[in-house]
Structure formats: structure tokens, C-alpha cells
């Protein structure tokens, strides 16, 4: 049963990913990406990483994609007016992507054996994705990165505001 869910979610993810890059209109790409994120959230739930699943939806699908949509609507980029790249470039890109896939798969194929999952037998395995556990790790072992990430956000906000300002000095 689980396998079936896994395969289904995987298919959804891959199909929507493909439509992200092959869609004609940018809005369609955004919508497809949202679907992909939902599929990823489903995968996270399968892995019992509950916190991450929710955070994925809230942050990615909820905030980032909305931002994308705002920009597209603001700049009225809905029309597909860009010239296409020449065919041979697309061909070469596909070949490159294919090579990358083969390399990655070849690198990782057969590296995981059944015996490597001995850890799964413990009962604690179920809990590591829960909010309490993540919270504990975050606030004890990873405290400093956590605090610094707030500085990161601050700088991103300031940067965005500065970049977005209209130049009042120049005519």
C-alpha cells in the first residue's frame, strides 16, 4: 500500500515538475510548482517528517509562490513573449541533463543495502520528525545558526526594500 502511495506521489511530482519548465505561460508554471510542493509535502509525511511537511507548505507554497505570483501580476508578465532558444541548445541541454541523471543514479545505485537499515528497528525512529524533537535540536545544538538566520532575514528585508525603491534623485 505504502509503495503505491509513494509511486503515485512521485509521479505527480515529476509530472508537475515537467510542466513547470514546459508550460507556456508563467502563471501555469507557478501553479504547477505549487502542485509539486504539495507532492513533496506528501513525501515528507510518508517519511514521518511532520514538521517539515507543514513548514514546506506554509513557507514554500504559501509565501514564496505567492510572492512569485505577485511579481508576475505586478509586472504583467503573463504574456508569453520571449523568443525561444534555438533547437540545438535545447537538445544539448537535454543531453546534459540526461548525463547528469545517469551520473547521479550510477553514483548512488546499490549503495544502500538492507542491512544498513538496522537503525530502523528502534522505536525512537518514529519520533525524530516530530515537532518536539526538531525543536529540541534546533534550540540546543543548532542555536547559533538559528539566531544568525534571523540576521539573514533582516538583511534580506533591507536589501529588498533598497532594491525596490524608485530612484527619486534621477529624473
Amino acid at each position: 500500500m505504502d509503495k503505491f502511495i509513494f509511486l503515485f506521489l512521485a509521479a505527480v511530482a515529476i509530472l508537475s515538475a515537467l510542466s513547470v519548465i514546459f508550460a507556456k505561460s508563467p502563471v501555469y508554471s507557478v501553479l504547477s510548482l505549487i502542485i509539486t510542493f504539495f507532492a513533496m509535502a506528501g513525501h515528507f509525511v510518508l517519511l514521518n517528517a511532520q514538521f517539515l511537511a507543514i513548514v514546506n507548505i506554509i513557507v514554500y507554497a504559501g509565501a514564496i509562490m505567492v510572492l512569485f505570483l505577485f511579481v508576475i501580476m505586478l509586472l504583467n508578465l503573463n504574456k508569453e513573449s520571449e523568443p525561444q532558444k534555438p533547437f540545438y541548445i535545447k537538445l544539448v541541454a537535454c543531453i546534459a541533463g540526461g548525463l547528469l541523471l545517469i551520473t547521479l543514479v550510477g553514483a548512488t545505485r546499490g549503495s544502500i543495502t538492507v542491512n544498513g537499515d538496522a537503525l530502523m528497528a528502534t522505536n525512537n525512529a518514529i519520533d525524530i520528525g516530530s515537532v518536539e524533537k526538531i525543536g529540541q535540536e534546533l534550540f540546543t545544538n543548532f542555536l547559533i545558526p538559528f539566531e544568525i538566520s534571523s540576521v539573514l532575514f533582516l538583511s534580506a528585508m533591507i536589501g529588498a526594500v533598497m532594491l525596490g525603491k524608485k530612484d527619486l534623485k534621477h529624473t
Binding site: K85, V92, A93, A96, L99, L100, T103, L104, G106, A107
Partner: protein
């Protein structure tokens, strides 16, 4: 007085430094004073040394070391002087005649704007020459040898604004250098064979080592002789000497008559131990000497420039000196050096006085009848001519006769050749005398109005030298005429007695007969010359009208042109080739090519920075793939 020996070369050096540094600022009077004064000082010290050696108060061969000069591995050379009869004799000639010439130059060059420079060079020359004769090892001698070569170049090309003079100076220097190469090789061989370059070491070991390595000995002596031919203008390196009459006449007097050209002879006499052990080289020296003597005399018969006649006469007399050396008569060679210094310097200075009076004219066909206008010059010139002809009791007679006597010992044929050369010498010298001084004036009116006797600063040295030419021969009067051969006894400690031929094998009567024959032939020649040039007033032909053999000889047997085409032209081609092709094209091409290739390479590489982001992304992906693949393969 021996401890003042270092002052002898030092005084001229100081004079050179002072005059050279204060070139434009010192007044002419001061320059002349310093220049002549330094030489006079050296002369006085040398005189004291001479008196010391002859009276025996100074030991015969003193080596004074001043400081260690080269200390490298097995070579240990110190700057040291050797005070012995031979070196003191040369020093006397150099400083004495040199002083007189300095005095003469003060008058001759008084109008020249390079006055201070001239005196500086002259002082430097005397310094180098003194170093040459005073050195106690071959290296100090070589240093002086090079120094005189340099100074002769500086002085010959003194009026450097004229390209011909510069070429003449270059020619002299380059020919000297060729000889110097032989000298240097000889020195190296000496060092390799004997292990040291000090005279005392070499000469004491010479007999054994030379007997053992006969071929090496021949090589050493031959190489040293090549150096001597370059410096003393023997065949084949003699063509430089007539050309540099381009320099001021006192320069010709000092360098080419009295001192520098005798350096080669001095060197051979100093190394007489080596040479007596190598009879083969001595034969070669003898042949070269007599051939040069005759050859140059024939050329001198037809020259029309005063200084050129005297130059060829110098080459010829040098040939005689080498001839004497080749016969093994070292003392006779030195004797002839001394007397030749006197009368040749006198002749050159007299010619300078004539040229000065003629406002620069040097062609004897435009002179004549100067006897009445330039009396002192005329009489001193007569004395010089008589001396060189070898008429008793003037100086030239004794030295020349000694050479001829030794030649007769060897073979009568050589004696005959020597007499022939002497007769030709007489002939062209008297030709010169008659054409210049007697008859009627053949120059322009302008020159005639300027004719005047030279000032006292020029005539005083002439008179002194004339006196010396008269009495100078008396230092070597042979026993046959009742004198004791003072010079031979004086130089005896220096000349080795191994196989030496100072002792006459001739009987006194033979010698007298020879003397009488040669003297009477000389008188005959004078009469012939008188008849040709005074009584019949046969003029030498003007330019371009000679024919046949006369033309050949007048053009110096075209030897200069021969050298030019054989040696100079190929060298020029080679240097052109090196300069234009090797240097410009190849080397510069490589250097520039490196720069150009960088430029071209950067032009090509510039296109990789296209600015297009999609290109960059693509390259990034390719990079990732490559890294992963490499990781995978490892």
C-alpha cells in the same frame, strides 16, 4: 733610493689623474708643468737607480713587492717590480726621451684646444710603459702591454673629429690585439708548463723544463713572438704603423720610435732564457726580422710623406732589431733599441718642426730649400740622418755594425742582406733630407710667408737628442776599436750565458774589414743620392704617374688592400649577418614573439567572457557533470 722605486710609475699616473680631472679648468701653463714635471721626477729617480746599479750599490736583480694582486687557487701574483740592469736601461730611455718629447709637445701643441687631454694621455702612456718594463712577472708586463696599446689608440685618434684618423687608430688597436692574443696564449702556456708567472721562477726552471718539453717550449716562444710582432710591427702585423701618422708628431716620436714598438723587443730580451732554449723560434725571428727590414726599406724608397718615410724606416729598423735577436745577440738588440730611440725620436721631432713651419704640409714634394729658414732643425735633422745611416762615430754605426758582425758569423749571405738594407736606409733617408731641405722652395706662396723656426721649447729637445745621437754609441764600442763593450758587461747578469753568442767568433781583422766595406758602401750611396736629388734635381713623380714596379712599391705592395679583402670584408659580412639577422630577426623575433603570443592568446580567451548568463549556467552544469564523473571513476 731603491725604496723610491714605486714613485717612478706613480708620478706619471698622478700627473694623468690631475690633468685628466682638471681637463678644462687648469691653465695651459700649469698643465704643461705638471705633465713634464712628473716625467722629470721619474727620470731623476731612474737616474739614481742607474747610478746605483752601475756602481754596484744596488744588487743586480732586486724584486720589490708592493701588494698581493691576484690570489686565486694556485695562482699567486703580486704587484712587484724587478730592478735590474735591463729594466733600468729601458726606464732611462723611456723617461729620458719621454721627458724631452713632453717638452717638445708643450711647444708643438700649444695652439691645440685639446692640450690638457693630450698631456693626460701622454702621462698615462708613460705610466703604462713603465709598468711594462718594471714588472717582475708576466701579468704586470701584460697589464702595461695592454695599457700602451690603449694609449696609442687614444693618442693616434687624438683629433677624433676626422674619421680617417679614427679608422687608423682602430686599425692600430685591433692589430695590436691580434698580437696580444698570441701573448696571452703564450702566458697561459707558461703558467701551465712552469706553474708560475714570475720571471724568477720561470727563468730558473727554464733549462730543465724546456729541454724536457721541447714542443711546448717552441709553442710558448712562438706565441710570445706573435705578441711581439703585433706590438713592434713586424710582418704580418705591420700595416698599422704607417697609417697612424695621423696623430700629432710628438706622439709618433714617443710611441712609434722610441718606446711602444720596442716593447716587443724588451719582452723577448727579458725572456732570453726561454728563447735560447728554442733555436727554432730564434730562426723564425731572424727570418721575419730581416724580411721585414728589407721589405719596409723598399717601400720607404718611394714614399712622399715625411712621416710615412720615417714610419717605414721605423719598421725597417725594428726588423733589424729582431734580426739581431734572432741571431742570439740580445745585447746588440738592446743597444740598437737605445740608439734607435735617440735618432728616430730626433728625426720625428725634426719632421714635426718642419711640418709646424710649413703650417701642416707633409708632402716633401712641396718642400725644399728649407735649410736657410730652419737652421737648427736642419742641422739636427742632418745629425739624425747621419746617425741612422750608420756613419762613424755617430750612434747608429756601432749598433748596426754589431748586428752585421753577428750576421756574418752566421752566414755571409745574411751579412749581405743586412748591408743591402742598410744601404737602402741610407738612400731613402738622404733622399728625404735633400728633398726637404735643399734646392729651392716648391710650396705655395702662402706657406712661404709663414716659414719660421720653431720656438725654443721645440728646438731644445732637438738639440739634446742630437747630442745623444752623436755620443750615444759610445756605450757599446767593441773591443776591436779599442773600447770596452760597456753595455755588454752591464747587461751580462741579465742575459743568460747558456748557449749565448755574445763572444765574438770573428777575429779582429775580419771585423775591421767588414766595417770598412759597409762604411764605404754607405758613403757611395750618399753620393748617389746627392747626385740624383741635388745635382740633377730629379723630382719624385706626382701622384698617379708611377708605372710598373714603382707603382707596386709606392702602393705598399697593395698589402693593405689584401688584408682588407681577406680579413676585414669577411668579418664585416659576419658582423652584419649577426647584427641584422641573428640579432634583429631571430632574437628580437623570439622576444617579441612571446609578447605577441600572449596578446593573441588573450584575444582568443577574451571570448569566453561573453556576459551571457545562460552560457555561464551551461558551463557550470558541464563542470558539475565532469566533477561527478571524475569522482565516480576514482
Amino acid at each position: 733610493m731603491l725604496d723610491l722605486a714605486y714613485l717612478i710609475p706613480l708620478l706619471p699616473l698622478i700627473g694623468f689623474a690631475i690633468i685628466g680631472l682638471g681637463n678644462k679648468k687648469l691653465p695651459k701653463f700649469l698643465v704643461g708643468l705638471i705633465g713634464c714635471g712628473s716625467i722629470l721626477g721619474s727620470f731623476l729617480i731612474v737616474l739614481s737607480l742607474l747610478i746605483g746599479i752601475t756602481s754596484g750599490s744596488i744588487p743586480n736583480a732586486t724584486t720589490i713587492s708592493y701588494f698581493d694582486w691576484i690570489n686565486a687557487g694556485s695562482i699567486n701574483l703580486s704587484m712587484s717590480f724587478l730592478i735590474d740592469p735591463l729594466s733600468v736601461m729601458m726606464m732611462t730611455i723611456i723617461t729620458g726621451v719621454g721627458f724631452l718629447i713632453h717638452l717638445y709637445s708643450a711647444g708643438y701643441m700649444s695652439h691645440d684646444e685639446g692640450f690638457a687631454r693630450y698631456f693626460a694621455y701622454l702621462n698615462l702612456f708613460v705610466f703604462s710603459m713603465l709598468m711594462l718594463v718594471m714588472g717582475s712577472n708576466y701579468v704586470v708586463m701584460f697589464a702595461g702591454w695592454e695599457g700602451v696599446g690603449l694609449c696609442s689608440y687614444l693618442l693616434i685618434g687624438f683629433w677624433f673629429k676626422n674619421t680617417n684618423y679614427n679608422n687608423a687608430a682602430k686599425k692600430a688597436f685591433i692589430m695590436n690585439r691580434i698580437g696580444d692574443l698570441g701573448f696571452l696564449l703564450g702566458m697561459i702556456l707558461i703558467f701551465v708548463t712552469f706553474g708560475s708567472l714570475n720571471f724568477s721562477d720561470v727563468f730558473s726552471q727554464a733549462p730543465q723544463i724546456m729541454k724536457a718539453n721541447y714542443e711546448v717550449g717552441i709553442a710558448i716562444t712562438l706565441l710570445l713572438f706573435i705578441g711581439a710582432t703585433g706590438k713592434s710591427a713586424q710582418i704580418p702585423l705591420y700595416t698599422w704603423l704607417p697609417d697612424p701618422m695621423a696623430g700629432p708628431t710628438p706622439v709618433s716620436a714617443l710611441i712609434h720610435a722610441a718606446t711602444m714598438v720596442t716593447a716587443g723587443i724588451y719582452m723577448i730580451v727579458r725572456s732570453n732564457v726561454l728563447y735560447t732554449m728554442a733555436p727554432f723560434t730564434l730562426d723564425i725571428i731572424m727570418v721575419v726580422g730581416i724580411v721585414t727590414a728589407l721589405f719596409a726599406a723598399t717601400i720607404g724608397l718611394f714614399q712622399n710623406d715625411i712621416k710615412k718615410v720615417l714610419a717605414y724606416s721605423t719598421v725597417s729598423q725594428l726588423g733589424y732589431m729582431f734580426f739581431a735577436l734572432g741571431l742570439g745577440a740580445y745585447t746588440t738588440g738592446m743597444f740598437h733599441v737605445t740608439t734607435h730611440a735617440f735618432f728616430k725620436a730626433l728625426l720625428f721631432l725634426g719632421a714635426g718642426s718642419v711640418i709646424h713651419a710649413m703650417s701642416g704640409e707633409q708632402d716633401i714634394r712641396n718642400m725644399g730649400g728649407l735649410r736657410k729658414k730652419l737652421p737648427i732643425t736642419f742641422w739636427t735633422f742632418v745629425i739624425g740622418t747621419v746617425a741612422i745611416a750608420g756613419i762613424p762615430p755617430f750612434a747608429g754605426f756601432f749598433s748596426k755594425d754589431e748586428i752585421l758582425a753577428h750576421a756574418y758569423e752566421r752566414s755571409p749571405l745574411l751579412w749581405g742582406l743586412g748591408v743591402l738594407g742598410a744601404l737602402m736606409t741610407t738612400f731613402y733617408m738622404f733622399r728625404l733630407l735633400f728633398l726637404t731641405f735643399s734646392g729651392s722652395f716648391r710650396g705655395t706662396e702662402d706657406q712661404k710667408s709663414h716659414l719660421h723656426e720653431s720656438p725654443i721649447s721645440m728646438t731644445l729637445p732637438l738639440m739634446v737628442l742630437a747630442v745623444l745621437s752623436i755620443i750615444g754609441g759610445f756605450i757599446g764600442v767593441p773591443e776591436v776599436l779599442g773600447g770596452t763593450n760597456w753595455l755588454a758587461n752591464y747587461l751580462a747578469p741579465v742575459i743568460a750565458t747558456v748557449g749565448e753568442k755574445e763572444v765574438h767568433a770573428l777575429s779582429h781583422s775580419t771585423e775591421l774589414t767588414l766595417m770598412k766595406i759597409s762604411t764605404s758602401l754607405v758613403f757611395l750611396t750618399i753620393i748617389i743620392a746627392y747626385i740624383i736629388y741635388v745635382s740633377k734635381k730629379i723630382m719624385p713623380l706626382p701622384e698617379g704617374k708611377e708605372s710598373g714596379i714603382q707603382k707596386l712599391i709606392y702602393n705598399k705592395y697593395y698589402i693593405d688592400e689584401l688584408y682588407d679583402s681577406i680579413i676585414v670584408k669577411p668579418l664585416r659580412l659576419l658582423s652584419d649577418f649577426s647584427g641584422k639577422i641573428l640579432d634583429n630577426t631571430i632574437v628580437d623575433g623570439i622576444v617579441n614573439g612571446v609578447g605577441k603570443s600572449v596578446e593573441v592568446g588573450s584575444k582568443v580567451l577574451r571570448y569566453s567572457q561573453s556576459g551571457s548568463i545562460s552560457n555561464y549556467l551551461f558551463i557550470m552544469v558541464i563542470g558539475i557533470i565532469i566533477m561527478l564523473v571524475i569522482n565516480l571513476i576514482k
